[in-house]
Symmetry: C2
Subunit: 409 residues, 2 copies
DNA sequence: AGGGCTTAATTAATGACGTGATTTAACCTC
DNA sequence: GAGGTTAAATCACGTCATTAATTAAGCCCT
C-alpha cells in the first residue's frame, strides 16, 4: 500500500529532516536563480533562521555562492544567492540510432564540451557503443579540463526499454539488444556514477526542466521519430511503472486488426504515425533517408499534391486519437510533441491534431489539457540525461565520487 | 518540477517528523494486525525506543490497544498490538445506477450497519440522491448506535468524473449531472467530513487494500459494468491527474472509425466491451435487464450457440487489446478485472483475454503483469469509499470532527 | 522454589534540529 | 552622522530520535 521503507535511506530521524529541508531549498534555488534568502524562506515555508543556517552550510561546502545584492530602499540590502555552477559537473550521453553524443555540463547546465560519434547504421554492436561512450567521456573531460573526480554523474539515454534493478539491463528493439548489461560493461572503463534511462524519458525530462513542460505537474512528452514513444510525468516525476518499461505509447492499439507493426502486433499507433509508417503509407521507396523524405512529403502537400495531403490528414487523425487516449487515461495538464518527426509534423498539423484529439477525448479532460510542441529539439536527449545526476544531487544524495573529490580537493 | 509546498501542511519541523513517523507506524500496524513493537520497529526502521514512545501515545489516545502476548521461549513475552477498532467509525456510500447504499464500518472495516435505497432508473435527480444519502447516514448511525461525533468521515463513490477543488463538482454522464456541487448540497444536511470520488476509484481502492491488489505498487483496476472505467494506481496511490478525471479507459479508442459510442465519439473500448455494447453486438432486444441478458448470452455460448460464442470471442479480443494498452503505457505489476460484467465475463474468458493481451502488448511488460479477477465483487464501491477517511486518519490528519469527539467525550 | 538466564520494553542521556525572539549588520534619508 | 529600516545572524528553547543503560517479565534447570 505504501512504498516500502528502504532501510538505507530512511526518513525518520532529525538528520533526515535536515537533508530534506536542504533538498527543498536546493530545488527552489536551482529553478529560481538568483534569489534571496527571504524569497527562499517564503518559497519553501522554512523559517528565515533555518534558511540562514542551511545556506551557510551550503556556502561553506561551495555548493552555493553569494552573487551581489538587490538595491534596498532604506534597509540592509538582500543578498542574492546562486548555485555555484562550477561546484560539479554532469555528463549527458545520447545513444541514438545514428550517433553517440556525449556532452558535459556544469551545474547550471551550461554546455562545456561535446563529443560526437556518427554510427554506421549497421554497427549497433554493444562493444562499439560502449567504446564510443567511454571515448566520449574522456574526450569531454579533457576538452573542458574537468577532473573526473568533480563529475557528479553520467546520464545515458538509450533507445529501448531500460530495466532498472540490481543490474541495469537494456532491451533495445531497434538495436537488436536483448538484456544488455550496459552499466556493467561501462563499469569496466569508468568509475563515474552511471544513470541509464530510455531516451524518450531523458528527452521528456529535458522538456520538463527547461522546455515546454516547465511548471507542469502532470504531462506526457510524446516522441515521434522513426518510431513512437512517450514519457509520462505524474506529480512532476517520470512514471516508470513496475519494471520501468512504462510509456510504450507507440504500441498502443488504435485499430484492432489494423496495419502490421514491426513489434509483431497490428494496429499499433506507431504503424500509423511514426515517420517510417507515414512514409510507408505514402508509398515512398524504402531505404531513402527518412528525414528528407518526410520533408519532401510535407512539401508536396504544401504544393497541393493530393495524396500527400491525404496522408497527412490521416496522420493528424491517428495522432489525435493517440493523444486523446493519453488525455482520457492520464488527464495531463500538458502534452508535448517532440522528436524530429513530431516537430516536423506538428509544425504543420498541430491545429488538425488538436481537433482530432478534441473529437476523440472526453470534453472535461480535453479542455484542461494543452497540446504544444517541444521547445528543445531532438538534441535534448543528452541534456535530459544529464539531469538524472542533477536530480540526485539536489535530493542530497550521498556523493560517492564527489566525496572523494571533496576530501581530495 | 516538485509538488508545491503546501503551507498548511508543512513537513519541515521536528513536529512534522513525529507526525510522519506516527503515520508510518499506523499504516504498518493497520495492515499487519496484530503485531508486536519489535515487528513494528523492524518494519518501519524506527528504533525500538521511538516505537515505544509513539505506541504509548497511541494507546493513551485510545487508537491502539494491547492484545495479549506471544509465548516466549525464555524471555519477556512480546506484547501484541492492534488498532482499537472502536476508536472511530467511517461511512462508505455507493451511489450506483440502480441504488444508493450506505454502510458504516469500524476502524478495522467490519461492517456495523447498512442502508439500501433502490433507485427508480428514471429518478437520478440530484435532490433525490442527496436525500437518500442523508437518510442513509442517519439510518446507519442509529442502527449501529454510533454517535456522529465519532465518525472520522464519509467516503462517497459516484459514477462520473469528480472534479476535486475548492468546490467538489460531479460530472455524471450517466446521470445527466453536469457540475453538480454534491459536497455543498450534502453539507446542508450533515457536518461529517465528506470525501467524494469516482466509484471506479473507490472500488479500485477496495481491491488494493483488501482484495486482489494487495501488495502491488502499480496496478490498474478495470471496472466493467454497463460501461467501462478504470482506476490507475501508481506507487500505491490513485492517479487522479491534473483535474482528477484520469482513468477514463472506456473512452480510449481501439478502432479508429469504429462503432459509435454514447460519449459521442467512435471506436471507444466501451463501445465493444461494456455490457451494453456486448449485448448490442449480440443483437439482443434493448430494454431488457442487462445482468440477466449477459448471463443468458454466456449461457447460450456454453450451450454451443455459435453467434454467442463469436460475440464472446470478439469481446475477449477487444478487452485484451484494451488491457494491452494499459500494460504498454503503465507497466503495472497487476491488472484487476472487476465490475459485475467484468467478473461475469472474466470467469469464462480470462484465458482468452490474457492471450489477447499478450498478443497485443510488448513482451517484456506483459511478462511482468498478472491479470486477475477482482476478489471483492461489485459490492466493494462503498467499502473502498470508506477507506478514503481511513487513509486521512492513518496519515495523521488533523481530526476536525473527531477533535470535538475527543474533547467532548 | 528460587536463582540465573533471556528477551522485551522503558527510561535516561545525548545530540541534532527548527523556531521565535533578540541582536547585529548594512544601507538609506535627512 | 544620527535615526530609521530592513536583512541576516545568533541565542534560548522545546521537540524529537537515537544509543546505552535499566527495568520488567517471562523461561529453565537444579
Amino acid at each position: 500500500m505504501r512504498e516500502h521503507v528502504t532501510p538505507e535511506r530512511r526518513r525518520g530521524t532529525v538528520r533526515d529532516l535536515r537533508r530534506d529541508n536542504r533538498s527543498v531549498l536546493l530545488w527552489s534555488l536551482y529553478f529560481d536563480q538568483p534569489c534571496t534568502r527571504q524569497e527562499l524562506s517564503r518559497a519553501t515555508g522554512l523559517s528565515p533562521a533555518s534558511v540562514s543556517n542551511v545556506v551557510r552550510e551550503l556556502i561553506e561546502e561551495g555548493v552555493v555562492a553569494e552573487a551581489g545584492a538587490v538595491d534596498s530602499d532604506g534597509g540592509r540590502p538582500r543578498v542574492l544567492l546562486r548555485m555555484n555552477s562550477d561546484y560539479g559537473y554532469v555528463i549527458g550521453v545520447d545513444v541514438g540510432e545514428t550517433r553517440v553524443r556525449v556532452e558535459l555540463f556544469d551545474l547550471a547546465m551550461n554546455e562545456r564540451a561535446r563529443a560526437d560519434f556518427p554510427l554506421d547504421p549497421r554497427e549497433h554492436g554493444v562493444t562499439t557503443i560502449v567504446e564510443r561512450i567511454l571515448e566520449g567521456l574522456s574526450a569531454v573531460l579533457s576538452d573542458a579540463d574537468v577532473d573526473a573526480s568533480s563529475v557528479l554523474g553520467v546520464g545515458i539515454g538509450v533507445p529501448g526499454v531500460v530495466e532498472q534493478g540490481d543490474e541495469v539491463l537494456v532491451h533495445g528493439q531497434t538495436y537488436g539488444w536483448e538484456g544488455v548489461p550496459l552499466e556493467r560493461l561501462l563499469r569496466a572503463g569508468t568509475d563515474l556514477p552511471l544513470h541509464i534511462d530510455n531516451g524518450a524519458n531523458t528527452m521528456g525530462r529535458a522538456e520538463m526542466w527547461f522546455g515546454a513542460g516547465q511548471g507542469a505537474q502532470h504531462a506526457v512528452v510524446c516522441l515521434i521519430g522513426s518510431g513512437v514513444g512517450a514519457s509520462i510525468i505524474a506529480h512532476g516525476r517520470t512514471h516508470r511503472g513496475s519494471t520501468s518499461s512504462a510509456g510504450e505509447w507507440g504500441h498502443t492499439t488504435i485499430v484492432v486488426g489494423g496495419r502490421g507493426c514491426r513489434c509483431g502486433s497490428a494496429g499499433c499507433l506507431e504503424a500509423y504515425v511514426g515517420a517510417e509508417a507515414v512514409l510507408d503509407r505514402y508509398g515512398r521507396i524504402p531505404g531513402q533517408d527518412e528525414e528528407s523524405a518526410l520533408a519532401a512529403l510535407l512539401d508536396a502537400a504544401t504544393r497541393g499534391q493530393e495524396e500527400a495531403a491525404h496522408v497527412l490528414d490521416e496522420t493528424a487523425l491517428y495522432l489525435g486519437v493517440g493523444l486523446a487516449d493519453l488525455i482520457n487515461l492520464f488527464n495531463p495538464e500538458r502534452i508535448i510533441l517532440g522528436g524530429w518527426a513530431g516537430l516536423l509534423l506538428g509544425e504543420r498539423l498541430l491545429p488538425a491534431i488538436r481537433d482530432a484529439a478534441r473529437r476523440n477525448s472526453l470534453k472535461h479532460a480535453f479542455s484542461e489539457t494543452s497540446i504544444e510542441l517541444g521547445r528543445l529539439g531532438p538534441e535534448a536527449v543528452a541534456l535530459g540525461a544529464a539531469t538524472l545526476p542533477i536530480e540526485l544531487f539536489l535530493n542530497g544524495a550521498p556523493l560517492s565520487v564527489t566525496d572523494r573529490h571533496r576530501s581530495a580537493g
